[in-house]
Amino acid sequence: MSTEKQQEHLKRHVDETEDMQPDVGTGEMDEEFVEDLDTLLDEIDEILEEDSQEFVENYIQRGGQ
C-alpha cells in the first residue's frame, strides 16, 4: 500500500473514531436501510441453499496442524 493510500485510509479511520455518534436518520433513510437489510438477508438465504443439517454434519476434516 502506498504511503498516500495508507494515510488516506488512516484519516478516514480516525474520522470514524471521532464520529461515533449513532446516526439519527430521517424516516426515508430508515426505509432505505430496511430495504437494504432485506436484500442482504435474501442474499444470505441464497448462500444457505443446501440442506443445512446435512451440510453441517458432513463437514468432517482430518485434524491438521
Binding site: 500500500m1 495508507q6 479511520h13 473514531t17 438477508l41 458432513n58 476434516q61 491438521g64
Partner: protein, 452 residues
C-alpha cells in the same frame, strides 16, 4: 529489528457436495488431488512454489495449505494472504470442470477457518523473522500474556454449545493445551518452539506462532500481525520492563475466549486481576513509549491508531467493531439473521451460516457477501490482491524466486525450489543458496537464469 520478514500459512478445510441428482461421492483426498492437478503437472508430490513466490502444498490431514511469500510490510502481507484465497478459488473452479468431465457433478467448498463440525482443528500459522540474540525464555514469558489476550481483536468467533453461552471469541483457544511446546498436531502450545529460520541461523530465528485463528477480515489480519511485530521489536530491544506473567495462561486463554463482553478478569502471578482489554492497553501504552524514542513508519502508525481505536471500542461495547473484527462481524450477522428468520442459536442453519462466513468462494460466502456490500472495513484494494496473485513482493528474496518460477515454468525446465535455495538440474547442475531473505536478488543465479 526495524525491518522484519512476515509470513502466513493457512490450512484450508475442504468438502465436496455432490449434486442431488448425481449423488456420486468423492473422498477429501480425491478432491484435493483434483485441486492440485492443474499446478503440479507431473510432480510426485502436491507441493509447489508459485510465480508470486508463495508455496502451495498438501499438508497433514489432507489440507491444502497456502504459505505466503516473504513480506516485509504487514499491509503487503494482507494482500498476499488474500491472494492465496483467490488462487485456491480459481483452482477449485478448474477442478470442478475436470470432475464433471469424469462424471462427478457437484461443488467444492473451501473454508478458511480452524474447526470442522466434530471439533477437529487445523491452523493458520504466523511466521516472524527475529534477531537470534533474544533469550528464548524471556521471549516466551513476555509473549504469552500478549498471545493469550490478543484474541479480543484477532479471534474469528465460533458458535459453542448452548449450555455454555452460544458464542465464543476464538476458534483455537480450546485446542491450546500447553504454555510452551514443539507440537503442532497435539499438545499445541501458546508458544511453539519450531525454529527453522530459512536464513542465517547465527543472526536469525523464526518465531512460528500457532495459537491464532485464521482471519477473513483484512483488518483482523493486519492488526494481529502488526501488533505482534511491534511487540517483537520491543522484546528485541529489551524495552518491556513490566511483568505481565499470568497465573494460568492456558486457562486464561479459554476464559477470555468464552467471554464476549471482554470483561472477564484474569489473574496475574503478582495477584493483580486484569481483563484482556486492560492487559492489551498496557502493551499499547508500552508501545507508545517505545515509539517515542524508536524509528516509526507509516504502516506502524496505522497499526498503532487501529490498535488504540479497537481497544477503546472493546472497552465500552465490542459490537461497535462489527465492521472490523471477524468475531464481531460474524456475531452481528448471525444474530441479525437468526432473529429476522426466527431461528434459535442451536439451529443447523445458524451453524451452516457460521461455516459459510469462512467460505473463500465469494458467491458462497457470508464474509464476501458482506464485503461486496461494503459492510466490512478493508486494508487493501482488490487491485493489490490481484497483483499479489501473480507478482512476488519487491523487497524480499521472494522476488527472485517468483521470477525464477515464472521462467522455469515457461521453459518447462526441471528445478528444485525451497525457501532458501533454488536448484537447476541437468544440464546446468547448479544450486544457489540464499541466507539473506531481505535481499531480493540471487546475484549469480540471476545471471544464469536470464541466460537460459
Amino acid at each position: 529489528m526495524k525491518r522484519r520478514i512476515y509470513g502466513l500459512e493457512t490450512e484450508f478445510g475442504i468438502i465436496w457436495t455432490p449434486d442431488v441428482a448425481h449423488r456420486k461421492t468423492l473422498t477429501v483426498q480425491n478432491v484435493v488431488m483434483y485441486l492440485f492437478r492443474e499446478i503440479v503437472a507431473g510432480r510426485m508430490y502436491p507441493d509447489v512454489f508459485l510465480e508470486n513466490g508463495a508455496r502451495f502444498y498438501q499438508d497433514i490431514g489432507c489440507h491444502p495449505e497456502y504459505a505466503t511469500p516473504e513480506c516485509d510490510d504487514v499491509a503487503e502481507l494482507v494482500a498476499h494472504d488474500k491472494a492465496g484465497e483467490r488462487i485456491i478459488t480459481r483452482l477449485a473452479s478448474t477442478a470442478e470442470r475436470r470432475m464433471r468431465n469424469d462424471g462427478f457433478y457437484g461443488k467444492i467448498s473451501i473454508f478458511k477457518n480452524n474447526l470442522d463440525t466434530p471439533g477437529n482443528t487445523y491452523g493458520c500459522h504466523e511466521n516472524y523473522l527475529m534477531e537470534r540474540h533474544v533469550d528464548f525464555r524471556q521471549l516466551a514469558s513476555q509473549l504469552i500474556p500478549f498471545f493469550v489476550t490478543r484474541q479480543v481483536f484477532a479471534g474469528a468467533g465460533k458458535i459453542k454449545p448452548s449450555h455454555r453461552g452460544y458464542y465464543a471469541i476464538s476458534q483455537r483457544a480450546e485446542h491450546i493445551r500447553e504454555e510452551i511446546s514443539i507440537g503442532t498436531t497435539t499438545a499445541r502450545g501458546i508458544i511453539n518452539t519450531r525454529d527453522e529460520p530459512h536464513a542465517d541461523r547465527e543472526k536469525y530465528r523464526r518465531l512460528h506462532v500457532i495459537v491464532g485463528d485464521s482471519n477473513m477480515s483484512e483488518f483482523s489480519t493486519f492488526l494481529k500481525v502488526g501488533t505482534t511485530g511491534i511487540i517483537l521489536r520491543m522484546i528485541e530491544d529489551n524495552f518491556i520492563q513490566q511483568r505481565f506473567a499470568l497465573r494460568n495462561p492456558v486457562k486464561a486463554i479459554r476464559d477470555i475466549s468464552d467471554d464476549v463482553t471482554c470483561k472477564h478478569p484474569i489473574e496475574l502471578q503478582n495477584g493483580k486481576r486484569l481483563s484482556a482489554v486492560e492487559l492489551q492497553w498496557q502493551y499499547l501504552e508500552c508501545a507508545k513509549r517505545y515509539l517515542e524514542q524508536a524509528e516509526s513508519d507509516p504502516t506502524t502508525t496505522q497499526i498503532m491508531a487501529r490498535w488504540e481505536y479497537v481497544l477503546t471500542c472493546l472497552e465500552s461495547d465490542p459490537m461497535q467493531l462489527d465492521r472490523e473484527l471477524d468475531w464481531v462481524i460474524k456475531w452481528k450477522w448471525l444474530q441479525t439473521y437468526l432473529s429476522k428468520r426466527g431461528f434459535e442459536w442451536d439451529a443447523p442453519q445458524v451453524k451452516h451460516l457460521d461455516l459459510k462466513y469462512h467460505n473463500v468462494r465469494q458467491e458462497e460466502s457470508l464474509y464476501y457477501t458482506l464485503e461486496n456490500r461494503s459492510e466490512v472495513e478493508r486494508i487493501v484494494k482488490n487491485e493489490q490482491i490481484r497483483h499479489a496473485e501473480h507478482f512476488p513482493p519487491e523487497r524480499t528474496r521472494a522476488k527472485f524466486r517468483g521470477k525464477f518460477i515464472k521462467k522455469v515454468n515457461e521453459g518447462k525446465i526441471l528445478c528444485g525450489v525451497n525457501w532458501s535455495y533454488i536448484q537447476l538440474y541437468e544440464p546446468y547442475q547448479i544450486l544457489y543458496l540464499s541466507t539473506d531473505p531481505f535481499k531480493p536478488e540471487f546475484d549469480e543465479a540471476s545471471r544464469t537464469i536470464y541466460s537460459i
